[in-house]
Amino acid sequence: MREPRVPEGVLKGIRAPFLEGSPTPIDPPVIQPLAEMLDLSGESKREALFVVQGDAGAEACLRPDFTIPVVLEHLAQGGPARRYYYEGTAFRIPPPGRPAEFLQIGVEDFTGVTDAAIAGLAWRASLAGGRSDLSIRVGDVGLFRAFLADIGTPEAIAARLRRAFTRPHRLKAELVRASTPNAGAAKIAAILGGGSLETAAAAITQRWAKDGLEPVGGRTAQEIAQRLADLAEESRSPCLAPAQRGQIEAYLAIVGGPDQVRSAVSALVKGEATDRELNDAGSMLNDLGKQGVADERIQFEARFGGPFTYYDGFVFQITSAALGSERTVAAGGRYDALLSQLSGRKAAAAGCMVRPYRAWKDAPR
């Protein structure tokens, strides 16, 4: 099923905020390399992908959104500091009764735009569709990072918790694991034998030979020794104190408007470093206000990590009360780490998109 067209007059209004500052228009291919898409966005996205393949050649897919296609094209052009504007059809295998082909308009910004500015853009574009029941849900894994540091979470544990942030089940498991002393420590120590990494790797190689094991699977004895050493190190360091675990759980439960969030976070932290981070988050929420988003329209959720795995900072989602939380009107966020990894240098990346048909107040049901 295909989404009906949005009248040009309505589209013009929705498009206008995206055209501010004359961004570079970009029109990435509809057909994208499947392997690269999955490597960058994760296997969980395969479910919604239309996979296409001819008689020969690698598998491809229809673009499910524009972010990765734009990033790939941006890098192919040498990665200039630029903002790109796109408008086109995206394709996803939909839930029953929803369109598989739909229009998206958006920007991907590589100039270092602020979080609030990118969310403000999406907000104004969404409003241009005429709905008066919009609200914006925001989250920030960066704030979680700062919070963990502030309450003195051991770094190895903090790293695991940050990684698990977008996966609730994993996060719960990691909290349990972090507060339980590691029983496998003695076993690991026995394998390592207290020697150097080289000695441990040699011991692993010997053990493979003795047990007749082929070292299949793309990990060397050195890598395995390194991980065992890391585990041993971790098992020697203190585990998460019950009080810390309680604080983390309390933090993750924070949901509310800007004022509630400021006081809830203040109640949980004391250190100066996080006050600064907290101020950053506070100023992000203030700046959203300056972008014309009323406080009662903003809901901060500590747990909200965004729909895609590559977002690693601020994320947001704009929904309409009439459409419900499943049918997102607009969304976006920051993905500095993805771009830094792909370009091999420190880079800033943020983007957002709106679905005009959903923003359009008078869209036929």
Partner: protein, 241 residues
């Protein structure tokens, strides 16, 4: 003559033998119906039932599509058709044969890995080091995705594999596999080990009914009679309204 009940059974190999033995216990025998190159049969002495001999995978697809009323096939193949399919297919009874587990197996050489938690750890390090995700070779795309999601493991990628999946790690095509195993011997011979919490599904042959098929009164009666002869619960209310 009214339309017969259509029963799909495995067409070849060990699976066919096991199904014939199971029918035999109830005093039923398959009778080739000639023509159609032996892909259509009947049950001797049972009226109103047409037997179609199909591959196990095709039986699962035919039940899902409503092309047959009843079928015998592996639970793994039914569940692989996805959550949606399980609302269109109803498992009537496990048959006690064809047992096999769908499992996650990792290289036995990874002596630091025993659980899905370890896989999450290793997958993350692998992604950070190489920029690529750990590859999982399998023909069970849906079961794998659902299981990895339930375990909270995200940094991996599926490589579709249609045969000899257990060889993929040795061939350098994948790091892990998800495959079906009965004794684990083939996995072991390929240098692989089942993870402690890596059993996705304990599968066996099931008699299943298609809720999507068109059921006439006569076909429902035929199904009830057949289930009774097989000594199975004959309540079809759930599938055929």
């Amino acid at each position: 003559m009214s339309a017969p009940l259509i029963l799909a059974l495995p067409s070849k190999g060990r699976m066919k033998e096991q199904v014939e033995a199971w029918l035999g216990e109830a005093g039923l025998t398959l009778k080739a119906a000639g023509g159609a190159r032996g892909y259509i049969a009947a049950l001797a002495g049972v009226d109103g039932v047409e037997v179609r001999l199909l591959s196990a995978g095709m039986i699962a697809a035919a039940l899902d599509a409503g092309e047959v009323h009843l079928g015998v096939t592996g639970e793994d193949l039914l569940r692989e058709r996805g959550e949606g399919a399980m609302s269109r297919i109803s498992l009537i009874a496990p048959l006690g044969f064809g047992p096999a587990d769908v499992v996650v197996a990792a290289p036995a050489a990874w002596i630091d890995v025993a659980t899905m938690d370890d896989i999450d750890d290793v997958a993350h390090a692998y992604l950070a080091r190489t920029g690529a995700r750990l590859r999982v070779a399998t023909k069970y795309l849906n079961l794998t995705r659902a299981f990895f999601a339930a375990k909270g493991v995200g940094d991996y990628r599926i490589v579709a594999s249609d045969g000899a999946t257990e060889g993929a790690p040795a061939q350098g095509l994948a790091e892990l596999i998800v495959d079906i195993t009965t004794t684990g011997a083939t996995l072991k011979a390929n240098g692989l080990l089942i993870l402690d919490d890596g059993v996705i599904l304990k599968s066996q042959f099931n008699l299943a009914a298609s809720a999507g098929a068109v059921w006439t009164g006569g076909q429902k009666r035929a199904a009830k009679d057949l289930l009774q002869r097989l000594g199975l619960p004959a309540d079809l209310a759930q599938i055929a309204e």
